[in-house]
Symmetry: C4
Subunit: 327 residues, 4 copies
């Protein structure tokens, strides 16, 4: 069957991928209410189409942190892409470059920043969690900088890992032939203690390595200055209050995100939260959005409500990958 829209990749992925892998990509947290709502909320937004307008010349290009891209669509950071295909993040990187847009590489990628950089030219950002071990954070940032990554997308919405029940049932774990490449060769400090569980979802992501110890976070984010001169996009904002704090703390931009509905269930759809965040940002920084985008009309709705662009997120970004290689 010819695939005619992004949602149809889902059926193909379900058919071609092992259940554990498909479930990992496709699941939201708990009841998956927000997963559905990320889509439903878009369908409640209607157009008022005007006629007799000159649309013969359309310009879809836009600028993100000073970088010009061909369309207001970027690739969201999504972990562990090689589970879907051996080319993993390489293919995504090449696809993003071919499309003339930005890829944001997950720190939990199965390819390192250097490997992704070696696939060819392209504008790339690096996603990062805030670990208790700041030295690890510093090493990751340095590594991304050296590999030519242009900005940091700082994920701030996972003080705990979201409860994705399919992963628990499947006892999800990274296949043994894959590793989280960006952590290789780093001095992990206390994180070393859990390194043997590095690829285990429950331990590595949640209790140990990946737990976000907010008590040590400087609310002004001033600590980031000592680590990097790269601009920082704060990813995971859903309220006006946090948008204001992010702007005051010096964020270069805000990504309205509910982590693809994979963290806390029963939060609003991102397209619902967008308006208050845009209003709170007062035009001082650009606001982006991920979650639930499947159609060009969804992108247009986000732009119409004040977003500067959208990010294709976890589940369907892997389909972009599939498109290049598997379909």
């Amino acid at each position: 069957m010819e695939i005619t829209n992004v949602s149809e990749y889902d059926a193909t992925a379900k058919e071609k991928l092992p259940k554990m892998v498909y479930d990992y990509y496709a699941s939201g947290a708990e009841d998956q209410w927000t997963l559905q709502e990320n889509r439903n909320a878009f369908s409640r937004i209607l157009f008022r189409p005007r006629i007799l307008i000159d649309v013969s010349k359309i310009d879809l290009t836009t600028t993100v942190l000073g970088f010009k891209i061909s369309i207001p669509i970027m690739i969201a950071p999504t972990a562990r892409q090689k589970m879907a295909h051996p080319e993993g993040e390489y293919a995504t990187a090449r696809a993003a470059s071919a499309a003339g847009t930005i890829m944001i590489l997950s720190s939990r990628a199965t390819s390192s920043v250097e490997e992704v950089a070696s696939t060819g030219p392209g504008i790339r950002f690096f996603q990062l969690y805030v670990y208790k071990e700041r030295n690890v954070v510093a090493q990751l940032v340095k590594r991304a900088e050296r590999a030519g990554f242009k900005a940091i997308a700082l994920t701030v919405d996972n003080p705990r890992l979201g409860r994705r029940e399919a992963d628990i049932k499947n006892r999800f774990t990274l296949p043994p032939f894959l590793t989280l490449k960006n952590f290789e060769g780093l001095d992990l400090g206390k994180m070393d203690k859990v390194s043997s569980h590095f690829n285990c979802c429950n331990l590595a992501d949640n209790s140990g390595l990946a737990s976000y110890v907010a008590g040590q976070v400087d609310p002004t984010l001033s600590w980031k200055v000592s680590i990097t001169s790269l601009p920082i996009l704060v990813k995971g904002v859903l309220t006006a209050e946090d948008a204001r704090i992010a702007v005051q703390a010096g964020a270069a931009g805000i990504i309205v995100s509910n982590h693809g509905a994979r963290q806390l269930d029963y939060v609003p759809a991102t397209i619902t939260a967008l308006e208050e965040v845009v209003k709170a940002a007062q035009g001082r920084v650009s606001v982006f959005l991920d979650g639930g985008v499947r159609r060009g009309t969804d992108v247009f709705k986000a732009l119409a409500l004040g977003a500067s662009g959208i990010l294709l997120d976890d589940r369907w970004c892997s389909h972009w990958l599939l498109r290049e290689k598997l379909v």
Copy 2:
């Protein structure tokens, strides 16, 4: 099974028509949200029935652009009717005449204006797209005028062809034994370059022949004066703003239409948009509606909300045709 309402033609059509043809008639754009909503919006409108009212004498006749018709129901322009049956537009024309109402012939009909005229007496209007090649438009209008057509329905809602995914999957194309008869014998100018693809949906309707180059449209529509003295109904208005512009530009009437939900998805149902258009028209021109009408009660709802009549549109008009010949 006896067919007792318009919707039941759908099942019959699905059974009797090749999948490619059925899908072409039945599909809406993309997620088909508006296709559903065109129906759903009617079902949210309720009656406040009065009792003890004299309804012994009912007069359903009405007047459209000065032409008296037996019921406030006309036949919307729908393309390519001979795909459903060899009699195609002939049968529709005869059915409309027998019912004492107006048929609007699509410019993309599989029968020419002359052929339709030859089926017998009847009031007929001609539907038209605005092509970049105005000479083609002029020739089409002249041809319709000469064949006795009484008005032009100008479709203004397809700067691009809507994305109907079933057509893409089916690689929809007009069967080889059929042609778009109204274009035969015309000087197509630059359109000639795409004439070999004339019957191909993707090329002919979208990129080439049918693309509506709004940049060349005179917003006052004054260009139409040089082409025809026929009254023009502007088809595809969904907002008060465009209703006002259409009236100022000299439209003889407005058709509230979302192109049978086949163009842009997530626009309002036509019955929803009707009220603001009627209000904006201020009684200066008549307002008609197509989209989602399946019941006499739907017609009544449209009239109660200010419409002067409705048009049976794409999908189900073909059933009217089926009724005469196939069922």
Copy 3:
């Protein structure tokens, strides 16, 4: 299976009755939207339950037009009950008497007023349509009076017969061994012309015999004075405007009814319309309701919103009958 609520009679009836008969009892008009809504509207009304209230002594008796009944539940007039069972209206009459409540006999019953009266004591009202031939109406009323019926329920919501598509498909007709007994022996005048079609749904109910020619109705209903001294309940009111007119015209009571959703589709649920009718009646006459009542809690909701009682209507009243004889 033990039947534990009124709705479960539906499954039993579907199993035991011929399709044509079941469909006749169970169908609403056209899309059957109002049929569903009659139920759905009840389920949107919630209770605010109080605690620590003395409910040890409950009195369910009430008074209708001066007649005391055991519960605020009466039997709505429903036509042609002998199609369900040979005992037909006899069984319903006995059930109503046993329950200590009022039966309203349909003028289109398959038992005559005399036959129903002969089943034993009981308070009974007679339902009537307003026929063009007033002499027929007068004869029907006289006959009911003589048989001891105590009031007239005048159905005013069927200027035309509702379009019940299952009946059309089934070519519904009264089985040959049954007749509409109340019309036997009457001087039918012009109605005699259609008497050969008397039992045919389409002709008898709609075009000919049963058509309600409102143009000849005296809006003050004063004509009824010359015919009967019985109190008249106006059945089929759904608006405040008509409630006021009915009161002014001397109605003894109002029945909020949409004819069991069998006449005009897309009218409000009766429980929705109740409030405005009660308010308009200003306590000058009692207001009753039929349509959608399936639970004691439904009855309570109707009472809480101002009804003096409810009528079990078409579809499920026949189940009361079934209970006595068939189950």
Copy 4:
């Protein structure tokens, strides 16, 4: 299959338990609208998640009537647990103690207060209905006091037993090898007359033994003073009006409950009613809630709306039991 959330116990219970027993635990009253709504109402409450908040130290402990518990989750009183497993209330008691929280034992338990007390240390409350025979109530309270129970949860929402149709169809009755242990050895007075029907749902719970004769209830609840010095939680409040009365009457706390949707159908979800009860209580007593709680996020929603804690109610408390022994 690994059970990953409370709702999944339902499937397991349905598989492992006899239909009569499963239905007894799982059914709500009549149409079970409120049973669904207890869940649905939670899903309409959304979070506004904040970021960059220190959540490294979380304290879930709370205090109920002066007793410290590890989580704001208690075990609601649910009758007849030994139908699910021979360990019945023993296992629930041990599970509650292990979890560091309070179990409320139903007076209609299949284990006596003494038996539950003998399972080991733990904080336990005793649930009670208000019987006409106050001497029986007094004996029950004394027995619970002596067994070390610390408070009374007084159920006030069953002047009649709710109509659970599955129980009627199943002719539900307590299996012969089980008895309602707390009534054994008591002087039942007039209740003795129905003692042979003691285990029969319809008679024992409804018409005879269990009927709540509100006419004899002192609205100030002052009679309880003569019976017990234990604090009383009033269980079954759904309105502000009754919350105020309960506080004035000296209740130590209020449990917002609709009896697990097993009593009166079409009452609001407890999470919906919570806000007005909390407001009416004005902080003078603690407000708890049962009904529909399945997720930690549900508990959080209840706390955010003013509850001091929640009770896991009928249906799923039995799963806690199942967890320990059956799964």
